[in-house]
Symmetry: C2
Subunit: 264 residues, 2 copies
Amino acid sequence: MTVLTLGPAGTVSHDLATRLYGDDIELLPTIRSIIARVASGSGRGLVPIENSETGGVGETLQGLMEFEVSITAEAYMPVRHHLAARYDPSRLSVVYAHPQTHEQCSIFLDNLGVEVVHTSSNAASAVAMQRNENAGAIISEMAARIYSLPIAVRDVQNRRDNTTRFVEISPLPRDLAGCTKCSLLVDPEIDRVGLLADILGVFARRGINLTRIESRPSRRGIGKYIFFIDLEISEGWLEAEEELRGMTNLRELGCYPRLEVPGV
Amino acid sequence: MTVLTLGPAGTVSHDLATRLYGDDIELLPTIRSIIARVASGSGRGLVPIENSETGGVGETLQGLMEFEVSITAEAYMPVRHHLAARYDPSRLSVVYAHPQTHEQCSIFLDNLGVEVVHTSSNAASAVAMQRNENAGAIISEMAARIYSLPIAVRDVQNRRDNTTRFVEISPLPRDLAGCTKCSLLVDPEIDRVGLLADILGVFARRGINLTRIESRPSRRGIGKYIFFIDLEISEGWLEAEEELRGMTNLRELGCYPRLEVPGV
């Protein structure tokens, strides 16, 4: 079954999809289009959901809110950024970088002291560098290979452990065998003092570990939120979900195992 | 005292700053540079912190984590996006839009059916349109005025109540007179089952309303978070903060009033 992920060629998503699924991959231009296609039943998808430096990926969280898809696996991909340059990097006139990549490599780029120009994606940085003899770009190893650009300085990201967590999404949920985590979407609709404390208490009382909680705009006006909650499957989790259903709107986004990533 | 905010000319930040503070404004290229300058004592800053459609602004939250500045006011700015075009919009070859603007105007743009090309800012969309006779751009009224571009369709955002919340930041905290809210930064450092439930319980037990809670990467590795919490000042809030200090690392980012925005 074709796996849909984020293009253009050379994105971290493309790199990870190749490692996990081989060659039956289709690259789409936006996360939203991937999730919409999965919801329509045409394949699985692989999308980034959070990064250790920059946090949740809004487009993915929004897509999970809007479309009826299930999370069926997660995978953790180390993110490595390299400076591509044709000569001495300190003499470059400009370095192209996606704003998030810039943020993730801010220490190196601040020290380099060359003007940084923002682009719409890491692949766009590579394309911009191809067209400008005096420019460098912050790109991945895969992008350097695809766009034939020489890497001058490796691993310019602020932290060695920069990691992006991806989720595999499918039209239908998978069975529970092998699953270690579940993701929930809680929409309180009517807010009241202490509601979130009560929601979290349902898990805390049973000793269930929440690995992540993220608030997102409900799009019912500023100051109104929904919550993404990830839990580790352990004794009492089904009972906890049942209790939660009595208190608030709850959607189970999926239960899933963690995939090992070959070659990282 | 000069107010530093996000340029280039015509951003929503620029528009709001002009309404709130008049002409003594300096436009800087990044949110990080604004917060750094405020921390060094050279002026106040005005930065976006969350949007009703797209959620928290990562660069601002990160800057508040890193730099010693105080939030001294908040303001809510309606966000209106317009399609600038020189002729019948359906015959445009391309529409320039910032990715977040695209997301906020997705319904209109999907219906329009013209290719959307992403840019690094709304002002960059205006500049790109200036250079391309057959292009349109999604921009603000202020940007249309500054860059002399004709507006073809007004209010193309998905929701009429699209709003961005801004915070004013200063080198030092303000006095409590007139303040209605406080923002806290909670860094649990050592995680345990139920910790966040206990933290929220401190407020819930006293009937203190939390208007927002947002998790962000702690940058100590994926799956480790810090929390931004906003509370409404009401009886017992100082006592609650005191109790919290005994449980976890707590930094008060500031207590502040809400500013009325002239002319919106």
